[in-house]
């Protein structure tokens, strides 16, 4: 039995009939065509699927689409505003905070939340803040630099 969900995706209202067991990540990717968030494990361990739900970074592979009913979802696609990259996106680019790019949308969403909670984090706090997101390419160092750079820019 499909259920109707009504939610806001990247600022726009949206309504769909979905299977109760449909994962939020599959709803975003397969139904809405928002393929920015990726699936790296389906077990909430890698963080590639991280999106923002009512302002909180969540792993969308560990949530059902129906759990997002009535709520607000922001994906990487909705982060840039008026043609301007979000400062965290810009910093990932400037600091070479990505290589293959697969973890990047989730990593950016996690970093964004980290900076919202702690606008001036130390290196250790940055590492802790992105600890739920795996990256196999960068060794995390340039990601740490990117988060620092985004923080510095916001503070400037």
């Amino acid at each position: 039995m499909k259920r109707k969900i009504t939610l806001k995706i990247n600022g726009k209202p949206r309504s769909d009939e979905v299977e109760p067991r449909l994962l939020l990540i599959h709803y975003l990717r397969d139904v809405l065509g928002l393929t920015g968030p990726h699936i790296g494990c389906e077990t909430s361990l890698c963080g590639a699927c991280t999106v923002s739900l009512d302002g909180k970074a969540v792993k969308s592979c560990a949530l059902l689409a129906v759990q997002a009913d009535g709520r607000e979802v922001l994906t990487i696609e909705g982060l840039a505003a008026n043609g301007q990259l979000h400062p965290v996106q810009q910093a990932f680019w400037d600091e070479h905070g990505l290589q293959c790019g697969f973890c990047t949308p989730g990593m950016i969403m996690a970093s964004r939340q980290l900076l919202e909670r702690n606008p001036n984090p130390t290196e250790a706090e940055i590492r802790h803040g992105i600890d739920g997101n795996l990256c196999r390419c960068t060794g995390y160092q340039h990601i740490v630099n990117a988060v620092k750079a985004a923080a510095a820019k916001a503070g400037a």
């Binding site: 920015g36 361990l45 990487i76 070479h96 990505l98 290589q99 293959c100 196999r136 060794g139 995390y140």
Partner: protein, 779 residues
């Protein structure tokens, strides 16, 4: 036609240029395989063996086929016409098991594909996998390579009861003489454990069959689209020109996608059978069980030396855990270990035996470093063990044995010719960065306070830029094409198929400098057999050194033609090309590249013996490998109570030849070091004695997280390679190769005063804690 000449002084090579590929990646608009949607697309899910060894007595797919949405189930009986999964490596006497894309009457490892379910929906396909009933008769299995060699061990393949796939011997010099005359011999068994590559994007395939054209398009997350095309075409009996392979955005490979997998041909087969596009996306669990693993060595080393620390010779018995089958390069990987076993040292007497062993595990194959990390780990551990035995400083013993700068090109005992090097330079630099002498004093002080602090050095050499074709299984050249449009915009097409390394940027840097144009006027394309000339791929730290060089030579050819057209347009016999313009050396008049391009395509007038257009392709065959090197130093401290190792400092000084883009080189080093550090401290693929994969998920397999790794102090020396005109060597694997011995040497150093001579990886808290208990070093 301009009369004034604005000279572009900006060059890109050597600059920290941010990447051209990033805008799509940071906005979530890149297209990976799973992002592809097609009208009528079906979804496949694979039934895999839960047993390491079993006979298949029957398969009943009735319930699966009755499920609404399921359109087909195929088993081994259905795919008999499909050719075997290919092994590209050939060794004398190699035993090659028949490797069908779906199991026939027997399964050989947990994760072995048995059947494929095809449905209209990915959830339905996955559900129906559980409804396929396979009647297995479990058989004894063996997962440990040394156990597999024991008499009476279960036979992985019944036709070869000794489980030996091959033996391989290589020697140089006179090792018996070296050992007979040696003042000291040290011996150690050293393992390089099985690792799971864990690219963040799992494998995935979309197959699209157009019956009217008899044409198949395969989108696959691969490092080698052209080789995949040739080999899958052979497997499916397709004419190669009817198969197009696209490697779209590829989310990391590290060697695990340098392969031809059963599922790639299987999806082609399915698409051709059902007449609809089909998608298969590997789950993480499948990725751990059914994508190749790396390493898997048990090595028995003996090192002979004089009391002054001069190394005389080395003996190695190498046991390679191959797994149940040969994937593309499986048996070749340990031969690379043997080739590089002398490392950066001068000794000329080497005697190596490899035994390749079948086990009931997923095959091993190339994983970042592919044979060289194992070799480097071995020789660098042995040098430390020798230094410990002789009470010689770890830096001093290395310096004593280095190949000297005036000995290049240096012929090794294993038949290689090291291109260039100055091995003391990165070591000296690394020692200076850590302030070595003070560090050793601090270590002594720490010991007095009862703290366990270690300093570990690794001086590695590696072989890159694979490679001269005769020395490779599938050709070692690379293709590069440069295409200048009538409007003067430049497209570079490379046969190397990058997947995160950043060649869209580095190759654009090369092209923009050669043509004297803005980097934004260059686009680099790759990864599609329909638009790129045949190529080999990205692996073995070869893309820039071989692929970049092909682009460089294509540009030289094109510049000649640009000069010819420029001379015609300027009506001058004396022209030069710089900063994007062809200039008459006498009058100073010039024409821009776009004016020349337009004239070359318009072709109102052509220079003598010159064709219209500005296109050039080069297939560059390298005359040699390249040999990067470097020195890494790790400072560690051990928690006596828990055995946990913390890395206090990590210094990496790498020499990868000329550096095209320091920002990207640093990124490669960081990522590489963390993968080597992952092996040293955290990662291990564990099979239990029945062949069950215990580390079957990310919950159980410790991929390093941001909090688990140190800040890496990375710097470089630059010794150009004479092998290519760019002077580059390659850097993709350097960090991984240098890191594991630096870390392990450091931890062993921290424990050496307790009598610890060696520890095998991974140095988990449990292993270190147990060692402390055994050596009386407990809290």
């Amino acid at each position: 036609m301009g009369t004034t000449t604005a000279i572009r002084t900006k060059t890109y090579v050597g600059e920290r240029i941010r990447r051209k590929e990033d805008p799509r990646l940071i906005t979530g608009t890149a297209t990976y395989v799973d992002d592809i949607q097609m009208p009528g697309m079906h979804h496949a899910s694979i039934v895999r063996s839960p047993h390491a060894a079993a006979r298949i007595k029957g398969i009943d797919a009735k319930r699966a086929l009755e499920t609404p949405g399921v359109v087909a189930v195929f088993t081994g009986a259905d795919v008999k016409e499909v050719g075997p999964v290919p092994c590209g490596a050939s060794l004398p006497g190699l035993r090659v098991p028949q490797h069908s894309i779906l199991a026939r009457d027997r399964v050989y490892f947990v994760g072995h594909p048995v059947a494929v379910v095809v449905a209209t929906d990915r959830y339905v396909a996955r559900d129906a996998v559980d409804l396929v009933e396979v009647d297995y008769e479990p058989l004894p299995a063996v997962a440990d390579p040394e156990r597999a060699l024991e008499p009476g061990a279960p036979a992985v393949h019944p036709e070869w009861p000794d489980n030996v796939a091959f033996t391989y011997h290589q020697e140089g010099g006179d090792v018996n003489k070296a050992f007979a005359g040696a003042e000291v011999v040290v011996k150690q068994r050293i393992t390089s454990q099985r690792l799971i590559p864990t690219a963040m994007e799992t494998r995935g395939v979309v197959a699209d069959w157009r019956a009217g054209d008899k044409a198949l398009t395969l989108y696959s997350s691969t490092q080698i689209p052209h080789l995949l095309r040739t080999l899958v075409a052979m497997m499916l009996g397709l004419a190669e020109n009817r198969l197009r392979v696209v490697a779209p955005e590829v989310g990391g490979g590290f060697g695990s996608k340098l392969n031809v997998y059963a599922e790639e041909a299987l999806m082609g087969f399915v698409a051709m059978r059902i007449g609809k596009p089909v998608k298969w996306i590997e789950s993480r669990r499948e990725n751990f069980a059914a994508t190749i693993h790396g390493r898997g060595h048990v090595d028995y080393f003996e090192l002979a030396a004089n009391k002054d620390g001069t190394i005389l010779g080395l003996k190695l018995k190498l046991i390679q855990d191959l797994g149940a089958y040969h994937q593309l390069l499986t048996p070749a990987i340990p031969t690379l270990s043997v080739l590089m076993i002398p490392g950066v040292y001068r000794f000329q007497n080497v005697f190596c035996d490899i035994v390749g062993v079948f086990t009931n595990c997923v095959p091993t194959d190339a994983y970042r470093g592919a044979g060289r990390p194992e070799a480097t780990h071995g020789i660098e551990r042995m040098v430390d063990i020798l230094a410990d035995e002789l009470k010689i400083d770890a830096a001093e013993i290395r310096r004593k044995n280095f190949v000297r700068p005036d000995e290049f090109p240096f012929a090794t005992a294993t038949g290689l010719s090291y291109d260039s090097g100055n091995y003391a330079a990165p070591l000296d630099k690394a020692l200076e960065i850590v302030d070595y002498n003070r560090l050793l004093e601090e270590q002594q002080q720490a010991r007095k306070e009862g703290r366990l602090v270690g300093v570990g050095i690794s001086t590695y050499g590696e072989i890159c830029a694979f490679g001269p074709s005769p020395a490779t299984p599938a050709g070692g050249w690379e293709s590069g094409s440069v295409n200048i449009d009538p409007t003067g915009k430049v497209t570079v097409a490379t046969g190397a198929s990058p997947h995160g390394q950043g060649e869209e940027t580095t190759f654009a840097q090369i092209a923009a400098d050669e043509l004297g144009i803005d980097i934004d006027d260059v686009v680099v394309v790759h990864g599609d057999t329909a638009i790129v000339s045949y190529g080999i791929g990205t692996f073995g730290s070869r893309a820039t050194a071989v692929g970049g060089t092909a682009v460089y030579f294509a540009l030289q050819e094109l510049k000649k033609k640009i000069g010819t057209f420029g001379a015609m347009l300027l009506d001058s016999g004396d022209v030069s090309y710089r900063a994007g313009r062809c200039i008459c050396n006498k009058t100073g008049k010039s024409v821009s590249l776009s004016e020349i391009a337009a004239a070359s395509y318009r072709a109102m007038k052509l220079p003598p013996n010159t064709e219209p257009g500005l296109v050039s392709t080069c297939f560059w065959e390298p005359p040699n490998f390249t040999f990067p090197f470097g020195a890494h130093i790790a400072v560690t401290e051990i928690d006596r109570e828990t055995g946990a190792v913390s890395v206090k400092r990590y210094v990496a000084v790498d020499d990868c030849g000329k550096i095209i883009n320091p920002l990207l080189v640093d990124g490669q080093v960081h990522g590489g070091v963390v993968q080597g550090l992952g092996q040293a401290l955290f990662e291990q693929a564990v099979y239990d004695e029945t062949g069950q994969l215990v580390t079957g998920e990310l919950m159980d397999y410790a991929v390093p997280k941001a909090t688990m790794v140190p800040w890496i102090e990375s710097s470089h020396t630059e010794t150009p390679s004479p092998v290519n005109p760019l002077g580059v060597k390659g850097v993709g694997e350097a960090g991984t190769i240098g890191a594991s011995p630096a870390i392990v040497n450091s931890v062993v150093d921290a424990l050496s005063h307790l009598g610890v001579q060696h520890l095998d990886m991974p140095l988990t808290p449990e292993r270190v804690w147990r060692t402390l208990q055994q050596h009386g070093g407990q809290a």
